[in-house]
């Protein structure tokens, strides 16, 4: 072989594209996930539950038919769009089902409490606590007929301890006359101790106006004697929907590089903030370390890139884009972006 031939081979090889591909093992089991982590709803509150279907590579897939189901339609009704109407107080399980691309039936569930707008005082407690001393019956010997009399009483039979601002409630009266008979009193007067907190009409219809504590007093005159009954009530601001607002966990290395620490993903005001704890440490030896949120912990291809890591020890935080929800991503990923090296991860929630 001549030297010129070898030179030609060398030059030719220099310009040959060195081709090849890397196959990324990116399969993850498809899941459907309820992304509205409700812990309680108040009766009468309209709310729409949301769920997302994540396919075999962890990619959210819109347009998939979601089938909603309530464990007790008497407590909670739900339509095909996830709109619910809480009807009664109780605990209910909500299920969403979907058929995956592979034909598998997938589901996710959430348990939560349905709360009433008022908190009743149990009647037995009323009897125990509100039992008042009554005078012993008196014998009337002046009349030709022997009769026994008792002190008339006036009570609210459905007392409440708490009511939510904006809610209305109708009191019921229980009046016992001097003969011990339960009858309707001739006339009663309803009064609120603080009209800014509670208002009440002449029929005992209560309206909660603002947060605070006030009392409702009902009174009547019997034989020129005023008798009354008072119910002290706490008025609270409405919490129609209670939801999980934060998740905490541990960041751990999945490589030979140092990565450790705790994290909190939390809704603070209008912002969703990812906070790394003071115990956080990351290797400074690796160039191009980036942090991501993802639903697939094998690749960053479907991930939300939060940016390059610039803090390698100690507490710090990332303010997430406004369109990101608390449950939109299941994993935090640390990745050497230039060389596609997974460094570590954290699971935000199960």
């Amino acid at each position: 072989m001549k030297p010129q031939t070898l030179i030609q081979i060398l030059f030719f090889s220099a310009f040959i594209g060195c081709t090849g591909i890397d196959i990324i093992e990116d399969y993850v089991p498809p899941v459907v996930r309820i992304t509205t982590p409700v812990t309680s709803l108040t009766v009468g509150t309209n709310f729409q539950f949301e769920a997302l279907y994540f396919n075999v590579i962890g990619e959210p897939t819109p347009g998939v038919e979601l089938r909603w189901e309530s464990s007790d339609p008497n407590l909670l009704e739900i339509d095909t769009l996830g709109n619910v109407i809480p009807k009664k107080e109780g605990v209910v399980t909500l299920t969403v089902r979907v058929t995956s691309e592979e034909g598998k039936e997938l589901s996710d569930q959430i348990n939560f409490e349905i709360k009433n707008t008022v908190v009743l005082i149990p009647k037995d407690m009323t009897e125990e606590e509100e039992e008042e001393e009554t005078d012993p019956p008196e014998m009337n010997t002046m009349s030709s007929t022997l009769t026994m009399t008792v002190t008339p009483t006036l009570q609210i039979s459905n007392r409440i301890a708490q009511i939510t601002v904006g809610a209305e409630y109708l009191f019921e009266l229980q009046f016992t006359n001097a003969l011990g008979e339960e009858v309707q009193p001739n006339s009663v007067l309803w009064e609120s101790s603080d009209l800014e907190v509670l208002s009440i009409d002449e029929n005992g219809n209560l309206t909660a106006l603002s947060a605070g504590t006030a009392s409702v007093t009902v009174s009547t005159i019997v034989s020129e004697t005023l008798i009354s009954y008072t119910n002290i009530i706490q008025v609270v601001d409405p919490v129609t929907v209670s939801m999980v607002t934060s998740y905490t966990g541990i960041v751990e290395t999945t490589s030979s590089y140092q990565l450790e620490g705790s994290f909190t993903l939390a809704i603070e005001g209008d912002q969703l903030i990812l906070s790394l704890g003071s115990d956080y440490k990351a290797s400074t030896a690796l160039p191009g370390l980036y942090i991501y949120l993802s639903n697939n912990n094998n690749t960053t291809s479907q991930a939300l890139e939060l940016g390059p890591v610039t803090v390698f020890q100690g507490a710090h935080e990332y303010i997430l884009p406004s369109q990101v929800g608390l449950m939109d991503y299941q994993y935090i990923l640390y990745w050497c972006k230039p060389f596609n090296v997974k460094v570590g991860h954290a699971k935000i929630y199960d």
Binding site: P3, I21, I24, V56, S283, P287, G288, S301, F339, V341
Partner: protein, 283 residues
């Protein structure tokens, strides 16, 4: 992120083939190609982690010329460097996550002068001052990581020691050096130690040799991810490699060589075999 390491290795291989100091007017020249492909690397703790398959292909020219009987000039010119990464394809969907990427340019040129030092007994003794010219790109490609140079002007001073010996009727040579590489730009300085032995067969038509090369950082650099401002770097690299080479004389003063090397241990370097071939002229 391992570019400096690669350049040093290539230079070493070329240089070692040059044997002793050249006499005045004599020279050794080599046109070579070198290739490495790796889908894993040694981490800073010495573990082995996977990475996207990266490749480096270098076409180079090496020259060792006897300026006098006591002073030689040496140069290594990587005139074509291809740094590339395989396309990233989803196994599940077949979707292409990342296309194949590459960057081509000239690499960092090395210039060196070797000078004779009075022989110690039967040992040949010389010194070499090597300068690393920043002719390559230390920020290259779409994300800056397809480097063809490290962007720092380094100066390596080394002491070379060589000796011929025989085992039975077979003649061998042994050469080695100890070097100190003064690196700039926040990189840690390095100690280099190198040993090579070889023998000629088939009436001196075939040279077979083996070599060990250890690069040890002194961890005195300041460059790390916390102060690199996003730059792609490889500081505190360490490598201990084993290599072998065949050089065949095809003519009176020319021939071809083939070499391979493998890392036995390392930190922040690719864990992959490299292969090279070249056409040399020796007169």
């Amino acid at each position: 992120m391992k570019f400096k390491y690669l350049i040093v290795l290539i230079f070493t291989f070329s240089f070692s083939k040059a044997q002793w100091l050249k006499e005045k007017g004599k020279g050794y020249y080599k046109l070579g190609a070198w290739s490495l492909l790796a889908d894993e690397h040694f981490t800073n703790l010495g573990g082995v982690d996977p990475n996207a398959t990266r490749g480096l292909f270098i076409s180079s020219f090496f020259a060792h010329y006897g300026l006098s009987n006591k002073v030689n000039l040496i140069t290594y010119i990587p005139f074509f460097v291809k740094n590339y990464q395989f396309a990233q394809i989803s196994k599940t969907t077949g979707k292409e996550y990342e296309p194949r990427r590459e960057f081509n340019s000239i690499g960092d040129i090395n210039l060196a002068v070797e000078f004779k030092i009075t022989p110690l007994s039967k040992w040949a003794f010389s010194g070499t001052l090597l300068l690393g010219i920043t002719s390559g790109k230390n920020v290259a490609g779409f994300d800056g990581s397809y480097q063809t140079g490290d962007g720092e002007f380094n100066q390596q001073l080394q002491l070379n020691l060589g000796k011929s010996f025989s085992l039975g009727k077979q003649a061998f040579y042994l050469k080695s050096y100890l070097g100190f590489n003064n690196r700039s730009g926040g990189f840690s300085d390095e100690l280099h130690s190198f040993g090579e032995t070889g023998t000629q067969l088939w009436n001196s038509k075939l040279l077979v040799l083996g070599r060990l090369h250890w690069i040890k950082p002194l961890y005195n650099g300041t460059l790390d991810a916390s102060n690199a401002n996003g730059a792609i770097f490889a500081n505190n690299i360490e490598s201990f490699t084993l290599g072998g080479e065949f050089a065949i004389n095809l003519g009176t003063n020319w021939g071809v060589s083939f070499a391979a090397t493998t890392p036995l241990f390392g930190k922040i370097i690719f864990n992959g075999n490299s292969y090279s071939g070249g056409l040399f002229l020796n007169y």
